[in-house]
Amino acid sequence: MKKKTIAFILSALFALSAASVTACGPAGTNNSKIDVQIDEDKSQLYVANLQGGIGYAWLDKVIKRFEEAYKDEVFEEGKKGVQIIPEREYTVNGSYLLLPTDDWEVYFNEAVTYNTYVMKGELLDVSDVVKAPAKTGPNTKESKTIESKLSPNMQAGLTAYNGNYYAIPHYEAYRGVSYDVDVFKDYKLFFAADKDNGNDGFIIDDDDVPSVGPNGIPGDYDDGLPATLEEFKKLCNRMVLVGVTPFIWPGAHAGYTEYIVDAIECSIGGADEASVYYNYNSYDKPVSVVTGFDGDAPQITRQTIDNSTGYLTKQLAGRYYGYDMLDTIVKNIDSYAYSLSNNNSTHSQIAAQEDYIRSDLIGKPIGMIIDGNYWWNEAAPAYQRSLTLGEGAADRHFAWMPMPTAVGEADRAAGAKEPVLFNAMRSFCFVNANIANKPAKVKLAKEFISFCYSDESLQEFTTTTGVAKGLKYELTSAQEKDLNYYAKSCWEMRKKATVVSTLPQNRMIIENEALIGYLHKSNFDHQSYNTAFEGFLAKYSAAKYFMGQWIDAAKWSSDYGKYINN
């Protein structure tokens, strides 16, 4: 009886699967509704868009414009016009693509191990697209080249392997801290211009003149925010005093706490210093290096780093100050952080975002969230849900928080200091090299990506997603006005900031990419720690954790000797 059952099931299954083979190709969708039918009269292009917080509305828009603009264009014999078929929620991230056997032709993906694919010859050379002006239609183009919209760093990084471009930056996102402007206002957490106003330096009335902020310029976006780490710590204490919890981050992912370290490293060390982490070379620019500690105080020298002294990368001062701040937070974690942020395995980033949005509405305000600037996109459903929480729930004001640019009053630079943003996404647009021998496809793919990088397309991307593409372009004042409050604050920052990219230009790093993985790992006392947070929880000091990352000079020479010029 049972054998018969098994035999029946087996034969039924084989009949089914055999049927699927004879039906020419996959049968998994046999009983399903078709959304997009292939139009045999048009040329097709397949585009894979990584699923995630950025969504695909922007892609649908650009496709619609492209198809319209190219509707009379002939790419293949006997066909007219273009049909672009997007995989809107592609699931494989850019580190694990199997490009040679993949069917997709154009990709928008993140965490892309760019140089690896270049090395293996798996990306199509798009130098001609990058070095030409962006297309706005079959016969129209912009005046300036796409290359001119790339920062010098990005140009150097993309062409470092062999001088050609194999990708164009997709979106840009920054890791760091955002703050609730309303909480800061309501609890008077801004610093006043008058430091000795009898209120510990914080504003007393809403119309008090705020301090100049981290960039040293009065009357702009960062006024009243802490300009030094001393002030930042003072701010945290003040928050606790007035009943505001300073920080929230996802307790299940201790790695998020590194974002504040990275952000401080960028703002105190500056863009040149932060870039050293991805090159192990400062390219003749002097940077601050910690040579040792005198008690708790770091001994610092200014010097340049080249391939022979690449090990000094692990001794950059900005990083130490980042750890110092995080150490302060962890040592006071019960009062400085939301309770579930303290290592709780159930507290995801989505949960942290929702708790943050709700906090002020339920009378338990939290001042700052540590997350990427895409958090506001991810939190859209949480924001919708929060609308039931009474008055003011709809009109929220969150903003990107520039980090302090100095340690204390003493080393505060005179004059203005540019903000620095850390773009850790490695998000790119590229074309699969496996279409190289199909000229019509290549032409179509190149037209499409060029079209995606016209100013119009870049602007459309930002107005749709609230996030910037990794290129230089402006928004019209009307477009800027239409951005939501948070996106506007990020855009404002970006206009003034230098953006640090994580794409190495140094051949030594390209060949040893492992050097730029796990930048926060530390080894000491026969153990390794993935995050400083772990180390600080275990009661180690910032100095000890920092020194646990240092590389021995002799070992450096023996490991990387062949990259060191004599």
């Binding site: 580190s95 694990y96 307790g251 040893n512 990419e513 000491f524 390794s528 993935n530 772990e534």
Partner: protein, 309 residues
């Protein structure tokens, strides 16, 4: 004449046996050659190659890569604690998990009260999949237990996984707690194959349940039992202690097991052609140690186990 006939038929029987054996083995072996050997041979051979940046391809490198394996260990100070964790999780499985699985399946085999319910419940973690079980467990130990503690004592308490001092034990507990499904079911399957007459004869002698388990049941399922002991031993080298399910790719180093380390090292090297040979070499070295140990254990279990009842 009778004798000769027998011999001829025995020879025909022998030949038929071989033909049958060959025919039946052919498909699985061909499949193995294509989908294991063909698929993996390249990544195994990578241990003897290195990435040439100028050519953009691998070139032969002899045994040089194996020298790097030592460095991999030197640069991993957490390795000692990883090995310690692997041993702990293995031993706990052996001294706690295995005996419990055995007595549980014995209970079910004897169809004592509520066997049906217990069978379902023991299997439930497997049905729900590790992903959801881990999620539920996290809420239990990091939210529910602290809340109950606070209700009773009035003082706050850190969750058991949130607390770095207790998280290892919380995860070890999870491994035992959800690990009964497969082994219990397999033991049960083997036990229910035991001939009723043996058991009935023993029962007539007035055997106690414990004696029956020890003197009859275990010896009769000995091959199945030792298979699980061997599989458990393999876990000593490859087991991840469910770390992936708890932490994804970001498990704290202090919790690493050897298996998780291997998984991570390989996953990180996968996108980087220049790093892959080191991992391939590590894998081969590791096999050279683990495989003989496992085979030896297997041999010893066969040798010293009960042969018959």
């Amino acid at each position: 004449m009778e004798f000769a006939k027998k011999r001829v038929s025995a020879q025909i029987g022998k030949r038929n046996k071989l033909i049958f054996y060959t025919l039946m083995m052919a498909l699985p072996i061909i499949q193995f050659i294509i989908f294991w050997i063909f698929v993996n041979i390249n990544s195994i051979l990578l241990a003897f190659r290195t990435w040439d940046f100028d050519r953009g391809d691998y070139v032969w490198n002899g045994l040089k890569t194996f020298g790097n394996v030592v460095n991999l260990f030197k640069e991993a100070p957490f390795m000692l604690s990883a090995i310690k964790n692997s041993v702990i999780v293995y031993l706990i499985g052996l001294v706690l998990g295995t005996p419990l699985s055995l007595i549980f399946s014995f209970y079910l085999y004897k169809k004592k009260i509520l066997s049906g319910l217990f069978k379902t419940i023991l299997f439930l973690p497997h049905i729900l999949s590790a992903l959801i079980m881990v999620l539920l467990y996290k809420y239990m130990v990091d939210r529910a237990i602290p809340a109950v503690h606070e209700m009773i004592t009035g003082s706050a308490m850190k969750g058991l996984i949130a607390n770095t001092d207790t998280r290892l034990y919380a995860i070890l507990f999870y491994n035992v707690w959800t690990g009964f499904g497969t082994s219990t079911m397999m033991y049960l399957g083997a036990m229910s194959g035991i001939s009723d007459s043996v058991v009935e004869a023993a029962e007539l002698d007035g055997i106690t349940p414990l004696q029956e388990l020890w003197y009859i049941t275990i010896p009769l399922i000995w091959p199945t039992f030792t298979t699980f002991v061997v599989v458990g031993f393999v876990g000593l080298f490859t087991g991840q202690m469910n770390l992936y399910n708890f932490y994804g790719d970001d498990a704290p180093y202090a919790l690493y097991t050897f298996g998780y380390y291997l998984y991570k090292a390989a996953k990180e090297a996968a996108p980087l052609p220049q790093n892959y040979p080191d991992i391939a070499a590590l894998g081969l070295c590791f096999t050279a140690i683990a495989a003989p140990c496992t085979l030896l254990l297997r041999k010893m279990l066969d040798k010293f186990g009960p042969k018959t009842v």
